[in-house]
Amino acid sequence: MTKYLLLSAMLFSIGAVGVLSRRNLLVVLMSIELMLNGVNVALVAFARFHQNLDGHVFVMMVMGVAAAEVGVGLALLIALFRNRRTVDAGDLTTLKG
């Protein structure tokens, strides 16, 4: 049990660091996937531990939503690239106050 959770925490942390530190939006999106999968591992582990199917179902849900989210994210990214010729988060400062 502990090992699984450790793996889950590691995956999540790697993802979080990736989201925070990388400037390429493509990599940021991939990192978000990593975070989601870290959570999935934890959910499955707990589901096994409690002998309960809810966690498995919820993982399926998360994967579906993640697929949709990546679809939308990539579409946005392509549209952004067509407009701005960049996918670097550091260059996108239109919201600066």
């Binding site: 989201v19 925070l20 550091g90 400062t93 919201l95 600066k96 106050g97």
Partner: protein, 639 residues
């Protein structure tokens, strides 16, 4: 398929409503003929249905009711949208739809060239709908819906030619003055609701006797305040003369025949409440008699043909209330019926004269019209005879009935109020006088001098104007013979007890006096204005007469008194509220101040927004981390 009585009850208001919807929504795209046909079809069909219902309710032992749906329900208190046809409602239905249909037909020609033709018929139909809801209502709240509806339509139609600011102002005046009355009316409804725990008329009737008079005085007074507004009694009568700014058929329908009698109808509907509070009835009689006399005096000094008729309407409404306050309700209702005939006739006749003279309303610029407008002259003469009580016309019977009722109540029973009877006789005398003056100045005598080469051009009315006039003239002439039938029909209302001994004697006395009054009033007016116009100046050279004339010409200065007491103060208060409270306090301090604070704090805070996504994400992660850290901390402390 057979149409049941219940369906007919619902159809009567629904037909004008349908006409309103069609003309109101699609009126611009319809040809005029279609607007006119649709506009007249609703009331005419409603009249036919009312006639059928009248015949049905003549044999019915209990009132016909139709509960459409439950409007609101709270616990065991419910208000239904319910209609009921008893004898009183059946009579009012016939008057409203009958006279209303005639006036609709007349309007086709009168409004022929008006750009707002379809809008006019839409409003008129909406008025018919509201008025029918008012008389059909089975409870006070539904009645109030109709009551407000007719007020709205009155406002819309007074200001029908709203391009002229004067007309729009007259509409607003009518609406605002009525607001005062309606406020009282609403309070009265709430009082009755608090006392009875219900608003339905049958329940009032079955339980009014068990309530004490002291309890019922307040609602009776407040409801009468509402009636003062709608039916133009002192002190809320000031809107009705100004309401003449609307088209003349509107004055005939709303401001003479139907809407203004709503207050009288309301008293007949709540007769048990009023009968149990005698002192309120005394007060109403005093107000009514004063109104009748004051308005009759004023009518003698007016020069606008429609204003004369408006003041006459106020005066006749005073008569109706006097009849109601004498607790002989059938007399007041009878006068409502006959007054609807002859006053609608007079207004339509006046409208025809105004139409013929291309909008001229000043009677001093008329004169000698009988040669050119023979049919109009004869019908208006019939109307004036009925108004002033020429023997055996409709007005003679109904006014005589009221005078007898007042005589029996206030001279024989409550002798201290005998002046009321005398005041009403005086009002009747003046009624005959101004009717005679109207006829003499407008139709007799010589036409006024016109500049050389400018012949008076008279626009001859067509049969759509003459037909309604003749129909109403027949009703005004012979309507009086409906009296015994009407009284018999209204027996089911249980208004009257056994006939008083000496009723016949009182009746004969009042009838005799009425005839004398008619002869003196009408005759002297004919003599003065028909033959010896120079007598007017001679009479007015006498100071008291001139003073009274000034008073009457200025409508007893009611408008001025209101201007100095209510209007000025309200306007000052409004100006203070507008400038100090609204402009300075709300606008400057609260609205602009809030904006200023937001703007300032935002310009300080905007530096925090760098627009760098990873920074924002980092801040969010830090926030989540600190929140989790806090929860962990709490968990460790508790554990």
């Amino acid at each position: 398929m057979t149409v049941t009585n219940e369906t007919m009850i619902a159809l009567i208001p629904a037909l004008p409503l349908a006409g309103f919807l069609v003309n109101g929504l699609a009126g611009r795209r319809l040809p005029r003929v279609a607007s006119a046909v649709i506009g007249c079809a609703g009331p005419a069909l409603a009249f036919l249905l009312s006639l059928l219902l009248f015949l049905a309710s003549r044999t019915a032992l209990t009132p016909l009711t139709n509960v459409l749906w439950s409007w609101m329900a709270a616990g065991n208190f419910t208000i239904d949208i319910a209609f009921r046809v008893d004898a009183l409602t059946a009579v009012m239905l016939l008057v409203v739809t009958g006279v209303g249909s005639i006036i609709h037909v007349y309007s086709i020609e009168y409004m022929k060239k008006d750009p707002g033709f379809a809008r006019y018929f839409a409003y008129l139909n909406l008025f018919m709908f509201s008025m029918l809801v008012l008389v059909l209502a089975d409870n006070l709240v539904v009645l109030f819906v109709g009551w407000e509806g007719v007020g709205l339509c009155s406002y819309l139609l007074i200001g029908f030619w709203y391009e002229d600011l004067k007309n729009a102002d007259a509409g607003k005046k009518a609406f605002i003055v009525n607001r005062v009355g309606d406020y009282g009316f609403l309070l009265g409804i709430l009082f009755l609701l608090a006392i009875f725990g219900t608003v339905s008329f049958p329940e009032f009737e079955s339980r009014a006797a068990e309530k004490s008079a002291a309890l019922l005085a307040a609602p009776a007074l407040l409801l009468f305040l509402g009636a003062c507004g709608k039916s133009a009694q002192i002190p809320l009568h000031i809107w009705l003369p100004d309401a003449m700014a609307g088209p003349t058929p509107v004055s005939a329908l709303i401001h003479a025949a139907t809407m203004v009698t709503a207050g009288v109808y309301m008293m007949g509907r709540l007769w048990l409440v009023y009968r149990s509070v005698p002192w309120v009835c005394d007060l109403i009689a005093i107000v009514a008699a004063c109104t009748a006399l004051m308005a009759a005096i004023t009518a003698c000094a007016q020069t606008d043909i429609k204003k004369i008729l408006a003041w006459s309407t106020i005066s006749q409404l005073g008569f109706m209330f006097a009849g109601m306050a004498s607790l002989q309700f059938q007399t007041g209702i009878f006068h409502v019926v006959t007054h609807a005939f002859f006053k609608a006739l007079l207004f339509l006749g006046a409208g025809a004269v105004i139409h013929a003279l291309h909008g001229e309303q000043d009677i001093r610029k008329m004169g000698g019209l009988w040669r050119d407008l023979k049919v109009i002259f004869v019908t208006v003469l019939v109307g004036a005879f009925a108004l002033s009580g020429f023997p055996f016309t409709s007005g003679f019977f109904s006014k005589d009935a009221i005078l007898t009722a007042v005589y029996e109540q206030f001279v024989q029973k409550e002798a201290m109020f005998w002046p009321l009877w005398v005041v009403l006789l005086g009002a009747a005398l003046l009624t005959a006088f101004y009717s005679g003056r109207l006829i003499a100045v407008v139709f007799l005598g010589k036409p006024p001098e016109t500049p050389e080469g400018h012949e008076r051009v008279i626009h001859r009315p067509g049969w759509l104007i003459l037909g309604p006039l003749v129909a109403l003239a027949i009703l005004a002439l012979f309507g009086g013979f409906l009296q015994s039938g009407l009284d018999g029909f209204l027996q089911t209302m249980n208004w009257t007890g056994a006939e008083e001994p000496g009723h016949e004697a009182a009746h004969l006395l009042n009838a005799g006096i009425s005839v004398v009054i008619f002869l003196v009033g009408f005759g002297s007016a004919m003599l003065i204005y028909g033959f010896r116009r120079d007598l007017v100046d001679k009479i007015l050279a006498w100071d008291p007469a001139r003073g009274l004339y000034q008073l009457a010409a200025n409508k007893f200065y009611f408008d001025e008194v209101y201007r100095w007491t209510v209007v000025t103060w309200t306007k000052t208060a409004a100006a203070v509220l507008w400038f100090i409270v609204d402009r300075l306090l709300v606008d400057r301090l609260l609205v602009e101040g809030a904006g200023w604070i937001a703007y300032r704090s935002a310009s300080a805070l905007k530096r925090a927004h760098t627009g760098v996504i990873s920074l924002a994400a980092g801040a969010m992660a830090a926030g989540v981390a600190s929140l989790l850290g806090y929860l962990l901390f709490r968990f460790l402390i508790n554990a």
